[in-house]
């Protein structure tokens, strides 16, 4: 387990992608071949059944360390990670054991179905034989959940580099169905269990943000305008009877969206569509927060299928009749796309992303202001004669997003973050004024620099009312500008309304708490958007 422990330390100490990839490459070069498929399974979230539940693990750790439960909780809120907290509070180990990673994983899996006494004896014995870092890893093996900033894409790139293989081939291979103790690393790399010839996607063509007035783009009739959707960019690949859905992060997400599986029957072989995965109900695009319920889930229940049904708004076709047509002009690709979509028998799930009719930039600017009404975040401008570029290229595609709304609020609660931010108050609750009272309007955590977080942190430490537990009430003094995408009535919130995607735009050190916005300001905004 030593080599794996070293890998984890290396991955945690750097936030540079190149360093992480280098650490992974050297791990996959040096480690025991039997361990490698387990590591890949773990990092891609292929979790084995949990052998012991969290409550028991925690209870045994408290028992063994001899501290009261409240003190364990205080420790946990300072550490921000349960596996690590347990590793730190346990008394020092009296023995040492060195076993390969795959043996630990296999032994843990064998605990399934054993009695609690057997499980406890095994776990306590392991804790008493491992050092702090090894204990932490062992606890993570029990939960099977390693979140250490390694995306599927990064892992795949590292494996591809180590084996001088094509990364989309590796991606398909590791996203396929396999079990870590039934496959060798070599077989996994070769993709013996899948047919990688069918799945490969094209690189996405990306747009830059429009930073000038659209008038500078020239004549309107050289451009196609579409709504810019706020979903997951996706590529749908259908070849030789197999269907693959790739996300923008070049991850395979086919299993997450069963609504789109009909394309396996209906989309002609040798087709690749580009578009946006959205939640679409009764023909209307729903907000991203609704779509979010459907993302990164291993299983999907009925109510999720019902509340957040998936649709695909397609705007380009990259392969048709098994031919790469990316060099054809957009105008021509669009005609082919219209024809392909028209022929689908299942209607209203895969839809053409509409083209916006306009004859002047002023008119388009007016239309852009209505973006929010249809849950769009602005307009895409694409040159009619443009090819489908590889990656980001200036000139042919532009995104012309709407500006977010902003309000000034005051911070009233702070909570410690988790992971990297565990020792700091990083999650804040903001309020606006309602007469003499302050009323909670949003919670947000992103958008401040590390330096600002430290500053806020020391303010919270000095001005907190509570001393125990995770939440601190603070003196309403710090003013923050909150940006958000929309506003809606809400019965669940005390304010009677809810903001969409609130985030900290900036810290208004120039403003005092009595200068913040009022609930009435927000109500007016709500009525004006209804």
């Amino acid at each position: 387990m030593k080599r794996f422990s070293q890998l984890i330390q290396e991955l945690e100490l750097s936030n540079k992608t190149n360093d992480k990839i280098a650490a992974l490459v050297s791990y996959f070069t040096e480690a025991d071949d039997k361990d490698k498929p387990h590591v890949i399974a773990m990092f891609t979230g292929k979790r084995p059944k949990r052998p012991v539940n969290t409550a028991l693990i925690k209870q045994w750790a408290i028992e063994l360390s001899g501290i009261p439960e409240w003190l364990f909780s205080e420790s946990y809120s300072s550490v921000g990670d349960l596996s690590e907290t347990i590793a730190l509070v346990l008394p020092p180990a009296k023995n040492t054991i060195e076993k390969p990673l795959n043996q630990w994983i296999t032994e843990l899996a064998q605990l399934n179905g054993e009695t609690d006494e057997v499980k406890k004896a095994y776990i306590l014995n392991a804790w008493d034989s491992l050092n702090t870092q090894e204990r932490f890893i062992f606890n993570k093996l029990i939960s099977g959940n390693f979140r250490i900033g390694v995306s599927n894409k990064m892992l795949v790139n590292a494996i591809a580099k180590q084996n001088e293989e094509d990364s989309s081939k590796i991606m398909h291979s590791i996203m396929g169905k396999w079990l870590p103790n039934e496959i060798t690393y070599k077989e996994l790399i070769a993709g013996a269990h899948v047919n990688t010839d069918n799945s490969w996607p094209y690189p996405f063509c990306l747009a830059y943000a429009l930073e000038t007035e659209p008038e500078n783009l020239g004549e309107t009739n050289a451009w196609q305008a579409e709504w810019k959707w706020d979903g997951i960019r996706g590529q749908i690949v259908k070849r030789n009877g197999e269907l693959f859905i790739w996300s923008r992060g070049e991850e395979l997400v086919t299993d997450q969206f069963p609504e789109l599986h009909f394309l396996k029957e209906e989309l002609p072989d040798g087709s690749v569509l580009d578009g946006e995965i959205l939640s679409v109900k009764d023909g209307n695009v729903q907000s991203f927060s609704i779509l979010q319920q459907r993302l990164n889930r291993k299983t999907i229940n009925k109510s999720q299928l019902n509340d957040a049904p998936i649709g695909f708004f397609t705007y380009d076709i990259l392969e048709f009749d098994a031919k790469d047509i990316r060099q054809e002009p957009l105008l021509k690709r669009r005609l082919i796309l219209v024809d392909v979509i028209k022929k689908l028998q299942t209607k209203n799930i895969v839809l053409l992303s509409p083209v916006i009719e306009f004859d002047s930039w002023e008119k388009l600017a007016e239309l852009r202001k209505t973006s929010r009404e249809i849950n769009s975040e602005g307009i895409m401008l694409k040159k009619l004669d443009s090819v489908f570029h590889t990656g980001r290229k200036r000139g042919d595609w532009w995104k012309w997003k709407i500006n977010p709304y902003t309000i000034d609020t005051v911070m009233i609660y702070a909570q410690k973050g988790s992971g990297r931010r565990a020792n700091f108050y990083t999650d804040y609750t903001f309020a606006v004024r309602d007469g003499e009272q302050l009323i909670t309007i949003a919670k947000a955590y992103s958008g401040l620099t590390d330096k600002e977080i430290k500053e806020v942190n020391s303010f919270v430490n000095k001005n907190a009312i509570e001393k125990f537990g995770p939440v601190r009430t603070v003196k309403p003094e710090l003013v923050f500008e909150i940006a958000f995408e929309g506003i809606a009535e809400s019965k669940r919130h005390k304010a009677g309304l809810a903001l969409r995607f609130p985030r900290i735009a900036r810290w208004r050190k120039d403003k005092k708490a009595d200068e913040i916005n009022t609930l009435d300001d927000l109500r007016q905004l709500l009525y004006s958007t209804l």
């Binding site: 945690e12 100490l13 750097s14 936030n15 360390s65 501290i67 009261p68 003190l71 364990f72 205080e74 420790s75 300072s78 550490v79 921000g80 990670d81 690590e84 907290t85 730190l88 509070v89 020092p92 932490f136 992971g419 990297r420 931010r421 565990a422 020792n423 700091f424 590390d450 430290k454 942190n457 020391s458 430490n461 001393k467 125990f468």
Partner: protein, 344 residues
């Protein structure tokens, strides 16, 4: 009547009419040790341990109005018997023992229980009232023996050296820096920042012998630094000078490095949990050894620690002080005096 009271200027002994580590200027200040959160400029008179005197001189320009005492020697101030006992925190750090009519109170300042090879080893002192810090007052903090940590640091330096990286250790100029110098000397030349070199000169004058180090100047070539160990205070860790070195690898030496979030927050290349404060078992053993009837907890995890002490039957109370002001910052174990000279 209690021997001490907590006022808005600091810890006050009414009978003796003096303050211990006051944060506002007073007539007579008894100083536990030389870190900036315990020494304020502008008191009329200072009393401290002999080895704290060169620190007050180097860092704060205090000399003529500083009186000193060796450890264990008792003096009488308005009927109060006052003596100093080693606190093991940094060179010269002292617990202040006060006795009046058989009533004994000990103010610890900052302390650690493990002997670090350079600061006089901590001695528990029996008393009725004990004033303790609690910087690392959570059961997640248990230090490894310093030999193990120095072993890790040496391996790290060796590996950097081999890979053409420059090893930069981030440590407080007073305390941690001397501890590193003492324990790492031998294999590689040690280069130190001005603020550390100045203090070391002060220590040499009072007879504290430290292994040889080289003051960093603009004449020293970068590839020489790459072959040695560079020690700098935290204020410089994110600076331009560090980035200008050959493949800088930064190792932060601080108790906060015991937790992963602390290591990642600093985005250091390595974190070594080497602390000059007592860990959880250290705090508990020190407090039990005093047999105190009442324990005041001044800074760190005050609320949690004093609640726990009460639960295990030790009468305790938390006190609001201005010590450890930097301790909620992940890098800070004590305040650093802003550097007069920036190294180039």
């Amino acid at each position: 009547m209690s021997l001490i009271e907590f006022t808005n200027r600091g810890i006050y002994c009414k009978q003796g009419n003096f303050y211990i580590d006051p944060w506002h200027p007073v007539d007579f200040a008894v100083t536990t040790h030389g870190h900036a959160d315990h020494v304020k400029w502008g008191n009329k008179n200072y009393l401290c341990h002999e080895l704290t005197k060169p620190i007050l001189k180097q860092r704060y320009g205090l000399e003529n109005n500083v009186q000193t005492l060796p450890y264990h020697k008792e003096i009488n101030i308005n009927g109060i018997k006052l003596s100093l006992f080693p606190a093991g925190h940094v060179i010269g750090s002292s617990q202040i023992r006060l006795e009046y009519k058989g009533e004994i109170c000990v103010v610890s300042g900052d302390y650690k229980v493990e002997y670090d090879g350079i600061s006089t080893a901590f001695e528990p002192v029996k008393c009725h009232t004990f004033v303790s810090e609690s910087t690392f007052g959570l059961p997640i903090y248990t230090w490894e023996q310093q030999e193990l940590i120095f072993g890790q640091i040496k391996n790290w330096v060796k590996d950097n050296n081999h890979k053409g990286k420059t090893s930069i250790l981030v440590a407080y100029s007073l305390g941690k820096a001397q501890r590193l110098i003492k324990n790492l000397a031998g294999e590689y030349p040690i280069y130190v920042h001005n603020s550390i070199a100045n203090l070391n000169e002060g220590f040499a004058e009072v007879g504290i012998e430290l292994p040889e180090t080289i003051r960093i100047t603009s004449e020293i070539k970068k590839d020489e630094l790459q072959k040695g160990i560079v020690i700098i205070p935290p204020a410089l860790a994110d600076g331009r000078w560090v980035k200008s070195l050959q493949q800088p690898a930064i190792g932060v030496c601080s108790g906060w490095m015991a937790v992963r979030a602390g290591r990642r927050w600093r985005s250091a290349d390595a974190g070594f949990a080497l602390s000059d404060h007592a860990d959880w078992p250290g705090l508990l053993s020190a407090i039990k050894a005093t047999e105190a009837e009442k324990v005041f907890v001044t800074h760190g995890s005050t609320a949690v620690f004093s609640k726990y002490l009460n639960e295990i039957g030790i009468n305790s109370e938390e006190v609001l002080t201005k010590y450890g002001a930097e301790d909620d910052e992940i890098i800070g174990e004590a305040n650093e005096n802003p550097l007069k000279e920036e190294s180039k």
